[in-house]
Symmetry: C2
Subunit: 221 residues, 2 copies
Amino acid sequence: MAEEMEQWLSSLLRLTDEEEKMTEKQIKIIQAAVDIFADKGYASTSTSEIAQRAGVAEGTIFRHYKTKKDLLLSIIAPVMSKLVAPFVLRDLHQVLDTEYERFEDFLRAMMRNRLEFVVKHAPIVKIMLHEIPFHPELQSQFKEQLFPQVGERLKRIITHFQSRGDLIEMPPFALLRMSVSAIMGYIFTRCYLFPEHDWNDQEEIERVVNFIMHGLAPRKE
Amino acid sequence: MAEEMEQWLSSLLRLTDEEEKMTEKQIKIIQAAVDIFADKGYASTSTSEIAQRAGVAEGTIFRHYKTKKDLLLSIIAPVMSKLVAPFVLRDLHQVLDTEYERFEDFLRAMMRNRLEFVVKHAPIVKIMLHEIPFHPELQSQFKEQLFPQVGERLKRIITHFQSRGDLIEMPPFALLRMSVSAIMGYIFTRCYLFPEHDWNDQEEIERVVNFIMHGLAPRKE
DNA sequence: CTTTAAAGTGAGTAATCACTCACTAATGAG
DNA sequence: CTCATTAGTGAGTGATTACTCACTTTAAAG
């Protein structure tokens, strides 16, 4: 069962499905854009610089992408949906409905897998985090589509374990917020604040999971 | 004692010391810049737009600030240092050395105060978060000056309470990371993700403090 | 080989950029 | 009032911007 879940999670690490139908130059353009966007930010990156780094004429960029923003969105969109994919797919429900699953196993598997994803796509995730607040389309995609789905699903998971007495009585949203804070806190520190530090992921994940489990366990008098 | 600490913390909320020696137009410029920077980002804000919003000629901006970046830094710098001020000042040490202080009181006071600070200066903090990664001067100021000081001081605080048996045995940096994650997780959700939500800060702060205290308490067999 | 569509090019363009400068207005000390 | 310093102005500047378009190259199907 745990193995099934691991396998299924692993399948969610890939970004695109084998880079379908892209010319060599188009791939170069995306790579160059990701590099420079992550380095200097979208707004202060010029299309001429992207073309130069990609070894392409500037016109080639606009043959494939109508505008500069189009290029940005084509980079961010797949990461945005894949990042939260494990919490959206219908599979999740059936995975979780197996009675013998424990909350900490769920936490461990999810944290390990999402960390792996962010490590693998760090530059694009960085671009995403920086650009979401400045592009209303991205904001609404997150706030009106992704979050409600994900939030609702995770809330149900939380209440499931709560009703089994594994978690303290508390509004599910607060429980969710604190679990996610602890997990993201590590991923952020690990990937963006001190990426060059020599991290022992295994150990740190155990620490965070224990932190959450003890912090949110029902209080015994 | 707790009152002393509260008073001292409150004094750290103000940004500038009564806006010294600024003309009316200069203040207008700063306000306009903060507004637009927070809204669209530094790189995609033009000086002409700032001038327009401030009701000033474009030349006036450059009378007071040599470059556009100069304007940005004059906005960010004071927030950057004031944001971490409570963890840098020498005062902190003597406040903490009082034996009867408990870790959870420290957490509570700090969290309440820093939340208040971020609420008060939310737009500038947003600008800061977005621009730090793209401006090496800011990065190094954070990584080489602020963090080492703050980190070292906080580590000492952690080990202090650890040696009293209030906290679990664990590398201080990990303890620090998890405490800060939990606190920042709330402040971030509260101020940036869902600022319009009807938050009960008092209640939520208690939840986070309890989460941390239980999550990091020494494990009893 | 011929044809056709798509991929790729790079000089060109109008708009916008941060910034300058020669100038006027306001202010405050002597 | 006088004068000197600072604050404020806005037209002007060269550089850069995202994007276009008439053109050439590539490649695969018939």
